[in-house]
């Protein structure tokens, strides 16, 4: 029971990191990316490879994961500089589809569909962290650091520049903003921090495969952001917790046959999201409609 709860804590923390970093570009820069799972996956694969072949220290795996995601994110920044809104969504969707293919086919690095097995547990200052309750400390610290970093950025001139660009790119440029530079930086920061979630996920699960990094994950993370409240600090965390707890909450309803849980979950997701957008388009934490 205890391990079960700590397992949830870890998964919520990891998905909250994804939601917070996606919200950074969605809510502040207006860049709607459906490719966030690409950086989650890349972070996980790189961390796994480094842990297996170089060193299992969490600081080494994290650094490698972040660096590779930052580099690959330039691929996403390229369309973000040229197109906005729905056009960028389409471009990011393309990157996501492409990445899933690479993840499934590049067998020497990702293990193909079979995935990567026996990833060493995280090594923190020489201590192997593999129990969920111990790993929860690591994942929560990571979440707090990521939230702190994003928060500091959002409330600085950088965050104001992002929001200015979201509201009017041309006006932002007229006030001296180097729009392409600021947008690129925001995408790089978001991707590098999403890779932190990937690295944690790889060492926590000790097994990863492409199933965790598909379009479904990107959509799920986007749903967390929207349901919690796009452009708010607490929203993505609330959204991540809610969507991760929902399946467990439903499985506690004991008169339900286990085979129906999946279908019921889908119905609750769908209904909840539709009703929320009608009555609270700003999300749970966001502004009410018409305010």
């Amino acid at each position: 029971m205890e391990a079960y709860i700590y397992n949830l804590v870890n998964l919520i923390a990891i998905y909250a990191i994804l939601a917070v970093t996606l919200n950074f570009i969605m809510g502040y820069a207006g860049i709607y990316s459906l490719a966030h799972a690409v950086f989650f996956g890349l972070g996980a694969y790189v961390a796994a490879w480094v842990a297996l072949h170089v060193h299992p220290s969490i600081f080494v795996t994290l650094a490698a994961a972040m660096a590779s995601a930052a580099a690959l994110s330039l691929l996403l920044a390229l369309p973000a500089l040229r197109v906005r809104g729905e056009y960028f969504v389409a471009a990011s969707l393309g990157l996501q589809v492409l990445a899933v293919t690479v993840f499934s086919e590049w067998k020497s690095f990702t293990g193909g569909i079979g995935g990567v097995l026996a990833i060493p547990p995280a090594d923190v200052f020489g201590v192997e962290v593999f129990k969920p309750q111990h790993f929860a400390i690591v994942s929560l610290i990571a979440l707090i650091v990521v939230i702190g970093l994003i928060n500091a950025l959002v409330h600085s001139s950088f965050g104001r520049n992002l929001r200015a660009i979201r509201d009017s790119e041309s006006a932002a440029a007229s006030f001296g903003k180097n729009v392409p530079m600021i947008k690129t930086l925001s995408v790089v920061i978001s991707a590098a921090l999403a890779a932190v979630a990937g690295a944690l996920y790889a060492s926590y699960m000790s097994f990863i495969n492409v199933e965790s990094f598909t379009l479904d994950t990107s959509v799920l993370v986007m749903a967390m952001v929207i349901i919690g409240g796009t452009g708010t600090v607490a929203g993505p965390i609330v959204g991540a917790a809610l969507l991760m707890l929902l399946p467990s909450a439903i499985s506690w309803i004991d008169f339900l046959p286990q085979t129906e849980v999946g279908a019921l979950q889908q119905i609750i997701y769908g209904l909840g999201m539709t009703l929320l957008m009608i009555f609270r388009p700003g999300g749970i934490v966001g502004r009410r409609a018409g305010v």
Partner: protein, 254 residues
């Protein structure tokens, strides 16, 4: 705030033989104009005359087909709009383009911030900036609305926020695209006061305006554009009393 050199009347921006076509339509043709320090130049002309296109060309928002624009003696060819903005060319937009999701204060604060990275700033510098911004908001009548989001402002307040943003910058040339259109008489007086004070403080202004009261009240010079061509450029009385221009402007043209 002091804005020094070049001397009054010296050209800050020189525009030579500017050309721009959209498809087969010549939006701006062979326009040459000097924007001189401390002088208010008003661009008048019928709708579609190419006035806003002219602004977009000299700020680099649009690429020009041919012609030259120099700023403080430097050719601006290939210069990105944000570079020119940092060099001291400020502009407003006819459709305002406020940062709607941000408060009045954040809109003005952001106008003063250039760099991509947050820079450490001394306490004195910070205080100086805050006082400048408060002064700007008092002059534009927005000081009590400083925490209101731009999108929640009334029409005239939005126009003044657009002015407040440019007032907070260090820009020495203001390109204003119909800043006073639709203002009630009180707001309009406030606008004229702001403009006169800042021009006296050393700002150079080029303004697109339809209201002839404003044109007469504020202009040192009038440039008359029609169908992309500069038809006249001179002191207000001469230009406005030209019967041919009046006919084009008030339109009994077939």
């Amino acid at each position: 705030m002091t804005r020094t050199s070049p001397a009054l009347g010296e050209p800050l921006m020189q525009i030579r033989k500017l050309d721009k076509s959209f498809g087969g339509v010549k939006a701006v043709q062979d326009v040459s104009l000097d924007l001189r320090a401390g002088i208010v130049t008003t661009l008048v002309g019928p709708n579609g005359a190419g006035k806003t296109t002219f602004f977009n060309l000299i700020t680099g928002n649009l690429a020009r087909d041919s012609g030259q624009v120099t700023w403080l003696g430097q050719d601006t060819a290939g210069l990105k709009p944000y570079r020119l903005a940092r060099a001291g060319v400020g502009r407003t937009y006819q459709d305002l383009r406020l940062f709607d999701g941000m408060s009045v204060w954040e809109n003005v604060l952001n106008a003063t911030e250039h760099g991509a990275f947050p820079m450490p700033m001394s306490r004195a510098h910070r205080r100086g900036r805050r006082e400048r911004m408060e002064h700007v908001l008092e002059r534009t009548g927005l000081i009590d609305k400083r925490h209101t989001r731009a999108i929640d402002l009334a029409y005239a307040e939005r126009k003044f926020l657009s002015m407040a943003r440019i007032m907070a910058t260090e820009a020495r040339l203001w390109l204003l695209d119909e800043p006073a259109s639709g203002l009630d008489p009180n707001s309009y007086e406030r606008f004229l006061t702001i403009l006169r004070e800042d021009v006296a403080g050393g700002v150079t202004v080029c303004i697109i305006e339809h209201n002839l009261d404003i044109v007469v009240g504020i202009s040192d010079r009038i440039a008359f554009l029609d169908r992309g061509k500069l038809l006249a450029d001179g002191d207000p009385k001469t230009v406005l009393n030209d019967p041919e221009l009046a006919r084009i402007y008030f339109g009994d043209r077939a």
